[in-house]
């Protein structure tokens, strides 16, 4: 059974989502509510479809041929189905940002990395860009470390800094939802702690969905946790309930480390 959550304002609602790679059905009838300005964690063993699910939110699957969505992901408050064929995936990606598993800054300067999303929208006013660079880097807790090297290459930064640069890049365009795909799996514990702290700060202004392999991380950063298994959403609830008193036996076994 999937517990529906009625506390808090909804930012998005997934309804009967099925996803196919060719003829292979990877997501099976997923229903999930995403609460506004909270962190929702997607957990589950490898290959359960959690990354595939996350990548539906910004239509990344549209980049590759043979993929097909069925069902709806409704974005509030406009009440639009963002996986509908009538919706331009670019407009979705402009509102829903993404941070990837491996830090992937562009081989450009720190500054150019942050303003990329604005440049491709045709915004080239230096004053605006300067302001947004500072604001985004501050939001990503990176400003103090890089303010003297804005025009140095982004890859000169450490791995953790690069990942925060990618967060700043995603924040520059004021996304409503930020998708994190195992954002700390390539980072050391100190860099990981910084990113987790940052998420706590970010959720004041943006809704976060995070895929993580690390159950402790889900327990630390998220307000809601969804457990997925073999392409299905097994159980969904507040993180507290999921980790202390899950109703599903499978969830309980996974959380306690019996498999996965």
């Amino acid at each position: 059974m999937v517990d529906q959550i009625d506390t808090g304002e909804l930012k998005a609602q997934v309804r009967n989502l099925n996803f196919y790679y060719g003829n292979h059905r990877v997501l099976k009838n997923v229903n999930l509510d995403i609460v506004s300005k909270k962190v929702t964690a997607l957990v589950g063993p490898s290959g359960c479809g959690k990354t595939t699910f996350l990548r539906c939110f910004n239509r990344m699957h549209d980049l590759y041929p043979g993929n097909r969505y069925e069902g709806e992901i409704i974005l509030y408050p406009e009440n639009i189905n963002i996986i509908s064929k009538d919706v331009d995936p670019r407009l979705v990606r402009m509102r829903i940002g993404m941070v990837f598993q491996k830090p992937n800054p562009f081989p450009k300067s720190v500054y150019e990395n942050v303003v990329y999303g604005l440049r491709i929208r045709g915004n080239n006013q230096k004053k605006t860009l300067d302001e947004i660079v500072e604001r985004s880097l501050r939001s990503a807790a990176l400003w103090d470390e890089v303010k003297d090297m804005l025009h140095k290459p982004g890859y000169d930064l450490s791995g953790g800094q690069q990942q925060r640069l990618c967060i700043a890049r995603a924040l520059a365009t004021d996304p409503e939802i930020l998708l994190f795909d195992e954002p700390t799996s390539a980072l050391d514990p100190i860099a990981t702690a910084k990113i987790e702290e940052l998420m706590d700060e970010l959720k004041k202004s943006v809704t976060i969905i995070i895929v993580t392999h690390n159950l402790q991380q889900a327990a630390r950063v998220s307000d809601y946790t969804a457990f997925m298994y073999l392409g299905e959403l097994v159980e969904y609830g507040t993180t507290e309930k999921m980790f202390t008193n899950p109703s599903n036996k499978l969830t309980q076994e996974y959380i306690t480390g019996r498999f996965g």
Binding site: R90, R93, K102, P107, P153
Partner: protein, 299 residues
């Protein structure tokens, strides 16, 4: 067991030495060849040699029309083949859907690279000279060589684009970029090193090519320069030179070396030194550019 390990170590060492020997042997053959050319041609390598037209008298003959012709033909080759080749490479890597049509295109482009150059000459003779009436001109020569190096440029562009990690594309799309924006801001700048290298390798190959130009009628005795591209009157630019007859360095060398007089053999050695020097310079530029651009881009 022990002796088995020992034996494999010997094989390793022997193979290493063999490889080293072969590399040195090849290099020395080239060095001897080049050295011989330089020694033979040296007395003729004077400023006058570069500034004189061909002549019946070997001591008075020079390579003025040949090197000017070579440069102009190569210019046409580069400006015709590079934009088309780069666009084709980008299309095949970034835009083309995976279907049978794309497969046919890819296989045929790979095949084109293996077509003997004389065939391009025959094609050009039919197409540019007879059908389009471009004549036995610089334009025809440049376009012919352009066709010939097109596959090289397409392949180099594709190779260069393929080294860009998918991560970078996804990051760009995730920011809301279109395909063209991704190409313009990322794919093209990051593959520029490889593209430039391919371009220079293609152009330097065209630079030494003889057969297709002989087919379309590059003359061997040209005692005049093409008309000037600049004019004193409006519009100040003239394209008449495109339709002038021409010769190029390798054709000139070929002509001299087939003459019986010893003096012309010296001339051809000297011209060959010039050709080699220019080709090596182009390759060196390619290596330098690749190094410069690659150093700036890391993933």
């Amino acid at each position: 067991m022990e002796s088995g390990i020992k034996r494999s170590e010997y094989v390793d060492i022997i193979f290493g030495f063999l490889g080293l020997f072969i590399c040195f042997a090849l290099l020395s053959i080239i060095a001897i060849l080049l050295g011989d050319l330089i020694i033979t041609g040296w007395p003729r390598l004077t400023p006058k040699f570069f500034l004189s037209f061909p002549s019946r008298f070997p001591e008075q003959a020079g390579i003025l029309s040949a090197w000017v012709g070579s440069l102009l033909v190569i210019f046409i080759t580069a400006i015709s083949a590079v934009p088309i080749g780069v666009c084709a490479g980008i299309y095949l890597e970034e835009y083309a859907p995976k279907n049978w049509l794309t497969n046919i295109l890819e296989i045929n482009i790979a095949n084109l690279a293996g077509v003997p150059s004389i065939i391009y000459g025959l094609l050009a003779l039919g197409l540019f000279v007879y059908m389009l009436n471009f004549g036995e001109s610089i334009l025809t020569g440049g376009l012919t060589l352009g066709l010939m190096i097109l596959p090289i440029i397409i392949m180099a562009t594709r190779e260069a684009i393929r080294t860009i990690p998918q991560d970078i594309r996804e990051a760009s799309y995730a920011c809301g970029a279109t395909k063209w924006q991704t190409v313009r801001w990322h794919i093209l700048p990051y593959s520029m090193g490889g593209i430039l290298t391919g371009m220079i390798i293609g152009v330097s190959r065209a630079f030494g090519e003889t057969a297709p130009l002989v087919t379309i009628g590059a003359l061997t005795y040209i005692a005049f320069l093409p008309s000037s591209p600049f004019e004193p009157q409006f519009p100040f630019i003239s394209f008449k030179w495109l339709f002038d007859a021409f010769t190029v360095l390798p054709v000139q060398i070929f002509n001299w070396v087939s003459r019986p007089q010893k003096g012309f053999h010296i001339n051809s050695a000297a011209a060959a030194v010039v050709l080699m020097a220019l080709a090596l310079m182009m390759n060196a530029t390619a290596i330098y550019l690749r190094y410069r651009i690659r150093r700036k881009i890391k993933w």
